[in-house]
């Protein structure tokens, strides 16, 4: 690869890395609580994904801006503080403009603070690279995470109720799988999807 293109490739690479190569849920196995907890239906999953994108991009930008001021032993706590600030903004916004969604998501919105994805991206990318790369990286990882959430939620919602986003998709005689709505459905389905991801990775290599 020519040296002149290196910068350009870097930008594009940091945007697309999160989609599959470094997909937080399927490849890195970090931030596993929301994929299990909020995926009973697509709507809450999408809300969760968008909140995570917002927090991830904002905190990546802030951390990237102050990366030269960080002391090693205070690093994690500074990450947590900036993340907590943005999560508070997000939580208040949801409470004001989407009260029903906020009720469904409940404690899982504030739990974004301790979502490993955000700390991991802050540590792996934002504390080392410039603002643009960090912001693109945040968008990429967040989108990858949202897609993973939506796939999981889509499958669970269809099998548990025969509907997706309030549209009936299954034929009339379909018997809903109650198990898909319960924790067991979340765990087993995510396990099977991870197995599928492993097969795809093995084929690609």
């Amino acid at each position: 690869m020519a040296d002149g293109n290196a910068v350009k490739i870097d930008y594009f690479g940091s945007l697309t890395a999160g989609l599959w190569r470094e997909n937080p849920t399927f490849r890195l196995l970090i931030g596993m609580c929301p994929p299990l907890a909020v995926t009973t239906a697509v709507k809450p999953a999408l809300t969760m994904g968008l909140s995570v994108i917002f927090v991830l991009v904002c905190s990546n930008i802030v951390i990237s801006l102050m990366r030269n001021l960080l002391k090693p032993h205070l690093r994690i706590i500074m990450f947590c503080l900036s993340i907590a600030t943005f999560v508070t903004i997000c939580d208040l916004y949801l409470r004001a403009f989407a009260p029903r969604m906020s009720e469904i998501l409940g404690a899982y919105v504030p739990l974004i603070i301790v979502n490993c994805i955000i700390i991991f991206r802050a540590e792996a990318c934002a504390s080392k690279s410039n603002v643009w790369v960090s912001a693109l990286d945040g968008i990429g990882s967040g989108t990858g995470f949202t897609i993973a959430l939506c796939i999981l939620a889509g499958i669970r919602e269809i099998l548990a109720s025969g509907k997706i986003w309030d549209y009936q998709v299954m034929p009339h005689g379909f018997v809903p799988w109650a198990a898909m709505q319960m924790p067991v459905g979340a765990f087993v389905l995510l396990g099977l999807l991870l197995g599928l991801a492993a097969i795809i990775t093995a084929k690609k290599d």
């Binding site: 196995l29 596993m32 508070t88 739990l111 301790v114 979502n115 490993c116 087993v188 396990g191 991870l194």
Partner: protein, 196 residues
């Protein structure tokens, strides 16, 4: 007598019936990461229990006596995370000084306890449940940690035996652990409805 009964019920409820790992999916990352060996899992569970008990009580006290009277509840999450990070730092220094081998086997997961969802989770749920009595808070937060320890120890014991099983290539590692966890939640669901 009545109070003791309520406390015992609350404890059983948070350890078994409403186990944080199995019904609320909190703490799934260390649950998958550290459950390879029973002794490490047990150590991790104890560290988490200690931090949950400490931070559950501290966050409740700060919430009830500082944030609510001063109308600062908007900074609740930020205060919680500072308290938790402080408690984790304390445990980390203690383990590093007195149990060096345990410290080594934890590796990266010890500082990551501060980002363990169980801990922030119990602080938030205590707030949501509206618990207003210090003893109850102490019982609930200790119970949440013990529930996590129970869950991770069961999983570690199963995984130690799983080395002898012929698992399909693609399901090795995390996927089979998740599926096993799913079956465990099914077992724990037998307890639902017993209390609350």
């Amino acid at each position: 007598m009545d109070r003791a009964y309520i406390l015992i019920m609350a404890f059983l409820s948070v350890v078994i019936v409403n186990n944080f790992v199995f019904t609320k999916f909190l703490g799934t990352c260390p649950y998958l990461g550290v459950s390879g060996r029973l002794d490490t899992a047990f150590g991790m569970g104890l560290a988490v229990t200690f931090v949950t008990a400490l931070s559950g009580i501290l966050t409740w006290l700060v919430d009830a006596y500082v944030l609510v009277p001063l109308h600062l509840t908007i900074t609740r999450y930020i205060c919680y995370i500072i308290i938790i990070a402080g408690a984790v730092q304390l445990v980390e220094m203690y383990v590093k000084k007195f149990f060096p081998p345990l410290y080594k086997s934890f590796g990266i997961f010890l500082p990551l306890i501060s980002t363990n969802c169980v801990i922030l989770g119990i602080c938030l749920f205590i707030n949501i449940w509206g618990t207003n009595n210090l003893l109850e808070v102490a019982v609930l937060s200790t119970g949440a940690g013990i529930g996590f320890t129970v869950a991770i120890c069961i999983m570690a014991a199963i995984r130690e035996n799983m080395t002898m099983i012929d698992v399909p290539e693609s399901l090795k590692g995390a996927p089979i652990t998740l599926i096993t966890a799913g079956l465990l939640t099914l077992a724990f669901m037998g307890f639902t409805g017993m209390i609350r």
